[in-house]
């Protein structure tokens, strides 16, 4: 994903009719290859390690026969190669195996938990982007003066604070002291249950079912975790926005725009337009890294998403869960990156099917 462009002296002939279709095909090819690598790696990772799930499931009191029995039941007594081929076969038919503990298919569990995580991180990225870009732009415009100093101080602190710790601090202040936000009990209150599943997004589903009090509850339960992730990642956005917008505001292009008598707000708009590819790219990268990266925050807020699910899967050596998580997070990440490449190409006329 090359965002830099060299101002060539010669006129560049646009790439011959390679067309967007070829681009997408090439990207898809890479996507499949990368996913395959990811699957293999994650399989090896969880299979070649010394921990023994069978022993963990059987418990400390189990006899070795019992452990062997469990091992055979889970198919862990097969040689590695056979297990790998079996896993791939399953994968090809959309079967990711089932959880050692819940005995439910992995695909079903992901279907349950992925929307919870997506709802959380989508809102967080939007919040982070809006706040971060605004703060960064202010810093860039007033470079070296007090608004810049304040924004840099805040950026520095929120970038250094571990997200789960910020979550706890917010729970203390906003829930315990101020009493504004509800207790960290997950997506809705303990006594409530979620709306009928349509999209899996509670905000949308509660509206579809017309249950306004449930909508309010879902929104208020989203408030703190979104604020937590949003503030931490807003700091990253702010840092990037400050440097890219700052560069654009000091560029010769901005100087020429000013020399032509364009008003300051147009000059700022030019700078935003020039920075938007970088910021959009950044949003995609942060979105991808939040998948799984926000697992601890999910745990802090008792959020029933794939992050917390995979944490549990790992500590219990629930191998299919771990593999499922790696696969889904990897797949979504690679898809996001691919979409990014295409979006950035559309936003910037200089990038023609690079």
């Amino acid at each position: 994903m090359t965002l830099s462009t060299t101002p060539g002296v010669k006129a560049k002939t646009p790439t011959k009719a390679s067309g967007p279709i070829r681009l997408v095909l090439a990207r898809l090819g890479f996507l499949v290859a990368a996913l395959f690598g990811l699957v293999t790696l994650s399989f090896l990772l969880v299979s070649v390690t010394p921990g023994d799930p069978a022993e963990l499931i059987a418990g400390p009191m189990a006899t070795s026969e019992q452990v062997d029995g469990i091992r055979a039941e889970l198919g862990l007594d097969e040689p590695l190669g056979t297990r790998y081929v079996d896993y791939l076969k399953g994968l090809a038919t959309g079967d990711l195996g089932e959880s050692y503990y819940s005995k439910r298919p992995i695909t079903e569990e992901i279907g349950d938990k992925l929307p919870a995580t997506l709802e959380l991180i989508l809102l967080s990225v939007v919040f982070a982007a809006v706040v971060g870009v605004a703060v960064g732009a202010v810093g860039a415009y007033f470079r070296g003066r007090w608004p810049d100093k304040v924004s840099r101080l805040a950026t520095g602190i929120f970038q250094a604070i571990p997200d789960f710790f910020l979550g706890l601090i917010l729970i203390y202040f906003v829930f315990f002291i101020l009493g504004i936000a509800p207790a960290p009990s997950g997506r809705v209150g303990i006594a409530e249950s979620g709306p009928d599943k349509v999209t899996g997004f509670y905000l949308i589903d509660s509206l579809i079912s017309g249950n306004m009090s449930l909508f309010a509850s879902a929104a208020s339960h989203l408030f703190l975790p979104v604020l937590t992730l949003g503030l931490v990642y807003a700091a990253y956005f702010a840092k990037t926005a400050r440097s890219t917008i700052g560069k654009a505001l000091n560029s010769q292009q901005a100087q020429f725009a000013r020399a032509m008598g364009l008003p300051e707000r147009t000059v700022v708009r030019y700078a935003f337009v020039e920075s938007r590819t970088t910021i959009v790219t950044y949003a995609g990268v942060i979105f991808a890294s939040l998948l799984g990266g926000e697992a601890i925050v999910e745990r802090v807020f008792a959020w029933n998403g794939i992050g917390a699910w995979s944490l549990q899967g790992i500590t219990k050596l629930d191998l299919p869960v771990v593999q499922g998580m790696v696969l889904i997070a990897g797949a979504i990440t690679l898809i996001v990156y691919t979409v990014l490449d295409i979006v950035v190409g559309l936003l910037d006329p200089r990038i023609k099917h690079a």
Partner: protein
């Protein structure tokens, strides 16, 4: 030298211009009190080595330097308009582009890379006139592009900066700079980075635009040949100060200041044998 009381035809009158810039290592003073006069129909060349403050001078007059800079002057009179030394931001904005056009080096840096050329003409006109229609702006842009010798203006208008060659891009910049018909042009090394053959075309074009419309121009360059060929008056700068100024022939043929003599002496003359250092 430049003190004759002849305000007739005076377009720009700068007295005691100083520019200082704050840097992390303290304040620097790239321009230390210079005078500059430009008359109608005249091309004034500012020459000097890089870093002598020639480019900072014209950017300082237009107040295009960053917020870490300080521009002071006894006066910067744009005759008939305002004293730029005391003008507020609003006045400055109305003057830039409208009364003083600006052409910088490296046209690719000047043009907006994301917006089409047509959009850039539109933004420029919208900034200075209310109620500009897109179609109207397009007609004007086409005219301007034809005026700078672009053969297929429709194609250029729909394209983007990176699709142009260096010479074409600079032509577009010149067209933009003259769209609002400013009486005065500032050109800051307008041919740096262009192919040698294109350089002459661009200079011919821009000086032609000045002569045809009886405009005036300040041309900043380190190229003595360019000064000699295109300018009527020359200003020689060294370390932020003007060491010599006057009629271009007089400065070239009979330089008064040691520095000017050295500058001129360092250019090999036609027919002169170069001493080969080996």
């Amino acid at each position: 030298m430049s003190t004759e009381p002849n305000p007739d035809g005076l377009v720009l009158d700068v007295r005691n211009l100083k520019v200082s810039i704050d840097t992390p290592d303290g304040q620097v003073h790239p321009v230390r009190g210079i005078d500059l006069e430009v008359r109608r129909g005249e091309i004034v060349g500012i020459m000097g080595e890089s870093g002598c403050g020639k480019s900072t001078t014209i950017k300082g007059i237009l107040k295009l330097l960053g917020s870490n800079s300080h521009v002071t002057a006894d006066k910067i009179e744009l005759v008939g308009q305002a004293d730029l030394a005391t003008a507020d931001n609003k006045t400055m904005r109305a003057i830039r582009g409208n009364h003083i056009g600006f052409v910088a080096q490296n046209p690719f840096g000047s043009l907006n890379p994301i917006y089409s050329i047509e959009r850039q003409f539109y933004e420029l006109q919208k900034a200075h006139k209310t109620g500009v229609k897109k179609a109207e702006s397009r007609e004007i842009a086409l005219d301007m592009l034809r005026g700078v010798g672009i053969v297929a203006p429709e194609r250029v208008l729909g394209g983007y900066a990176h699709q142009l060659s260096g010479g074409m891009a600079q032509r577009v910049v010149i067209a933009l700079a003259t769209t609002l018909n400013p009486g005065l042009l500032f050109a800051d090394e307008p041919t740096t980075g262009l192919d040698a053959t294109v350089q002459a075309q661009i200079l011919d074009l821009i000086t032609g635009l000045v002569k045809d419309e009886n405009r005036s121009m300040v041309l900043v360059t380190h190229d003595l040949g360019v000064i000699a060929q295109y300018c009527q008056r020359a200003v020689v700068m060294l370390a932020g100060e003007v060491v010599e100024s006057g009629d271009v022939m007089q400065v070239m043929v009979d330089p008064q200041h040691e520095y000017t003599k050295k500058l001129i002496g360092s250019v090999p003359k036609a027919g002169e044998k170069l001493s080969v250092a080996r």
